[in-house]
Structures are given as C-alpha cells and as structure tokens.
C-alpha cells in the first residue's frame, strides 16, 4: 500500500536560518504519526509546509498520490488535509457553533446541513453546551478543543494537530486522547501530531519522528525512539533534567 502523506527532502530557510533541513517521512493511511522535538526544532514550520502556509524551498509533499506542496492552504484543505494551529485561531466574535459550521460548510451545500454536522462534532468534543457562546469567551482548553472540532468538521482524510494537548490538565489530556483514538479507529482518520506531552504520544502514536535543529534525528516505534541515545540527549534527557 502506498503512503497517504509523503514528504521528501523538505527544506525551508528563513533568511540565514534553515528551519527545516532535508526532512523526509511518510505516513500510512490510518496511522497516528507523532512529530516530537525541542522548541525551535522546526516542527510547526514543517506543518506549515504540508498545510500550504509556505512553499518549501526544496523537496516535495504528496498527499493521496498528488503533489500538494506550494498549493494554497484552502486547496490543501479541500484535498482532505485539515490542521489546527498551535497558537489557537478561533473566530472570536462568532459563536462556537458558527466556528465549527464554517469548517463543515466546505462539504455541504446548505448552512443547515453544516450546522447539523457541526452539532455532532461539538457533542463528540464536549463543547455542545457552549455552542452559542462566543468563541472569544472560551477558556484555553476549550479553545484547543474548538481547534480540533473545526478541523474535523471539514471531513478530512488526514488531520495535522499542532500541540493540542498543551495547557490541558492530565484528565483533559486523557479525554482528548480518548477522542482522538476514537476518531482514528472508527472514522479511519489519519493523524499527524506535533506533541510535547509524551504521555499522549505514547498512548496514541504508531510511529514517532524526532526533529532537532530542523533535521530528523530518529524515527520509529514510540518505545524504540524514547530509548534512542540521540533523542534522550537532545530532547527527552534535557527535558527530564529541567525538572
């Protein structure tokens, strides 16, 4: 079976800085693929290359067999790749329901259908009782959930999750893990996640890819990667030392 998402030799430079340095990976349909690494490792830039915010300077991205690098974000979303933003971007002055309905209307003809679909998703993400609240008045954990809800509403084949666990309490993290596992299994949704919360990574990921200074330093099953000497030294170890 060919991979759903493939990145080959991606390079992105900002002036002198090489934020993403020759990164390649491929994600199979139905996988939960985690990208980890210290702050500034280039994880979000990598997402932005896949999601169409920037075109890569070198390399290519293919999704479901078609080149998508350099395409506009809206076209990549239409192709079936949804994303969340690490720094959440709700539509603050609109209701929670409208926020999600705007995602849902990509695949519906009528707003009423989009609202109905949005309603289902809000239920799944425990946001239904806040549906008529303005998104700007939500707490941070709820905003994180809203990011996921909005992206899911576009009915993607693959979702890019940028640190959706950050700022959540452990119980909330477990809840989010359960939700993601459910949509991965029942809806066969492929997930690519940037995540610092290792507890969530270990619980969800089928494979882990480690970035450091923009370059790939390891890839493999979660257990193997977390024991990898390079990874411990550059990321996990330094983090453990900080405690």
């Amino acid at each position: 079976m060919s991979a759903l998402l493939t990145a080959t030799g991606l390079v992105k430079r900002f002036r002198g800085l090489t934020a993403v340095d020759n990164v390649s990976f491929s994600v199979e349909e139905g996988e939960v693929f985690a990208i980890i690494g210290p702050n500034g490792a280039g994880k979000t830039t990598l997402f932005n290359l896949v999601a169409g915010v920037f075109a890569p300077d070198e390399g290519e991205v293919t999704f479901a067999g078609a080149r998508i690098d350099g395409q506009a974000p809206e076209d990549i979303c239409k192709a079936g790749v949804a994303r969340t933003f690490q720094i959440v971007k709700p539509f603050p002055d609109l209701s929670v329901l409208d926020n999600v309905a705007i995602g849902a209307m990509l695949r519906t003809t009528h707003m009423a259908d989009a609202r109905a679909h949005a309603d289902d998703i809000l239920r799944k993400l425990d946001l239904h009782d806040r549906r008529s609240q303005k998104a700007g008045s939500l707490t941070l954990p709820d905003r994180k959930r809203l990011e996921v809800a909005r992206a899911l509403a576009t009915r993607p084949r693959l979702i890019l999750l940028d640190e959706v666990m950050a700022g959540l309490r452990p119980t909330e993290t477990d809840r989010m893990v359960a939700v993601l596992r459910d949509i991965n299994r029942t809806d066969r949704l492929t997930i690519v996640m940037i995540e610092h919360v290792m507890r969530a990574v270990m619980a969800l990921a089928t494979r882990v890819h480690v970035l450091h200074h923009g370059a790939s330093i390891a890839e493999g099953a979660p257990d193997a990667v977390t024991r990898d000497e390079n990874v411990v030294r550059s990321y996990l170890g330094s983090k453990a030392g900080a405690h």
Binding site: K89, A101, I102
Partner: protein, 326 residues
C-alpha cells in the same frame, strides 16, 4: 430575531410606508435621506462589517454609478432602468482593479484603506478634467416638472423618489440578511475574524473578498444612479469627495458595524441630527462657519464612546429585539 423584534420591524416598516400621507415635504425629504443613508450604509457594511475590508473610498462607486447612469441617459438616451446595470458593471470593473491590486500584492489592513482613497481621488481628478462629462463645472440632467413624471425614466415627484428609496433600503436589508445567513456570508465572517484560520478551513479568502467588493460596489453604484436622477446635478468635487466616503460610513459605524440594523439605526439618527443642528444653531444665532461640524463631531464622539460596538447592539439588548447569537 425575537417576536418583539419582528413586531418592531413591522411597525417601523408600516410607519415608513404611511409617512408620505402624514408628514410634510420637508420631513419627507429628510426621511428620504435617511433611507438612502441606510441603503448606502448596508452596501458598505457588507464589505467592512461582514468581510472586514475597510473602504474609505466608497464615493468612487457612488460617483461612477451616478455619472454612468446620467451620461447614458443624457448623451445616449439610455433610460436609468437599463443604465443602472451599466453603472453596476462600471463600478464592479473599478472594484476589480482595486481588488486585484490589493489582493494580488497583499495590501492589507489600513494600506488597503489607503488604496481605496487613492482610487476615489483619481476618479475625482479624472472627472474634474473630463470635458465630455462636464468637467469640474458639473453634469446636469434635464429637470422635469412633476406633471411630466415618467417613472420609466426616473422622473417623478418626491413621493416617487421616497418610495423608491424605501424599496432600495428594504431590498438592501433583505439582501444583507440573506447573505449574512448564507455560506458566502459565513465565509466572509471567517475571513474577517481570521484570514489564516479561514483558509485552513478551505475558505478561498481572495475569492470571497472579491465577491464582497463586487456586491458592495454594485449596490453603491445603484445608489449613485438614484442620487443622480434625484438631484439632477453632479459635481466631481461633491460626489467623489473624501467627505462623501466618510459621510457614507458614519451611519453604519454609529449604528453598529457588521450588524443588519446598524446602518438603518445610524442613518435615522445622524441625518435628522445634522438637520436639527442646522436649525438649532440658527435659532441660537450661531452662524459661525464650522459650528455645525464641531457640534456634530462632539456628539459623534459621545455616541461612539458610550456604545463602542454601535447603537444597534445596545438597543437590541435593551428592548430584547434579537435572540442569542443574532
């Protein structure tokens, strides 16, 4: 909208329909200006209130519409009911050029607003020097007596123009409400709130911005045709002037940007206020030039400071006219 809201809207509509039978001509002309102000405010509000693009040069479309309708009628014998389509086309063409420049080169925020001013100013200077259209001396339509009223050439008395203004204002409200509830309307709101997030959800920001620009400019051009046939004279220094653009946007700002009823509430407050100030200041013997502008400006500041989101949201809340999320 709540039941109270519908009742209030029906009462207001009935009052406006009945007004010509009750009020004198002077009051009727003020109501007419209110309605046109509400109409033009709706047009601008679609662009700014819904889509988040601040145009400070809507006089451009007003003037282009007015001149297109007037020139076609006087020089080519094309009636306004047909000419209005040409007027919309010309305005949309100008809006396309502006949008292409703005969106192609990512001229965002206040820089986009400056671009809109530049376009209006270029048009003003151009029409000032275009002798075919009368240049700075102005362009005039033949004045018809009320007895010669020909509705098909937009020649008629005050009642005719009043009901036409009412139809325009009502039509603009209905169109705004329809668009606001549509997919396009939601795409506009998304782009207004956060363009990057909107695009990530599959909204083609450039395309929906163009649609907003087209609809807003075409509506404004229709208003321009109306003004040309109502006032019978056009001067580039008036119709294309910056102050015209500002005048046009004050009503929706005071009434509530992005709301459906804000432009109406704003116009029905500001137009009579301006008229009343003239009378009051005259009665007080204050005929100093600029006195009206000074008082008007001070009152505007008070209103905006008291209700920073506009009057309509405040009124709607106080009188329970709108349901949640409206």
């Amino acid at each position: 909208m709540t039941t109270r809201g519908w009742v209030a809207l029906s009462l207001a509509a009935a009052a406006l329909v009945a007004a010509p039978f009750v009020v004198d001509r002077y009051l009727l002309s003020i109501l007419l200006l209110c309605l046109i102000g509400a109409y033009l405010g709706q047009a601008w509000n679609i662009l700014m209130g819904f889509c988040g693009l601040l145009s400070l040069g809507h006089a451009l479309y007003l003037g282009l519409g007015a001149y297109t309708g007037a020139i076609l009628f006087v020089k080519f014998g094309v009636g306004p009911w047909l000419g209005v389509f040409a007027a919309m086309a010309v305005a949309v063409a100008a809006a396309s050029a502006l949008g292409w420049l703005g969106f192609r080169f990512r001229i965002e925020g206040v820089y986009f607003s400056l671009l809109t001013i530049a376009f209006a100013e270029v048009a003003r200077i151009g029409f000032d020097n275009w002798s075919f259209a009368g240049g700075a001396a102005g362009f005039f339509l033949p004045v018809a007596s009320e007895a010669q009223a020909q509705w098909f050439n937009l020649r008629g008395g005050p009642y005719f123009f009043y009901y036409l203004a009412l139809a325009l204002a009502a039509g603009a409200l209905a169109l705004s409400a329809f668009l606001r509830a549509s997919k396009l309307g939601h795409a506009w709101l998304a782009v207004r709130e956060d363009p990057a997030a909107a695009r990530a959800l599959g909204v083609n920001a450039t395309r929906v911005r163009f649609f907003a620009l087209f609809i807003s400019s075409a509506m404004t051009a229709v208003g321009g045709v109306y003004l040309a046939f109502w006032s019978n004279n056009l001067f580039p220094a008036q119709i294309f002037d910056m102050s015209r653009s500002i005048d046009l946007i004050l009503a929706p700002i005071v009434g509530g940007v992005g709301t459906l009823f804000g432009p109406i509430v704003g116009a029905f407050l500001l137009v009579p206020l301006g008229e009343a100030l003239i009378d009051i200041l005259r009665a007080l013997g204050l005929n100093a030039p600029g006195a009206k502008a000074l008082v008007y400006g001070a009152l505007l500041m008070i209103i905006i400071a008291a209700t920073p989101n506009g009057l309509w949201p405040w009124i709607a809340r106080k009188l329970k006219l709108e349901g949640r999320g409206a």
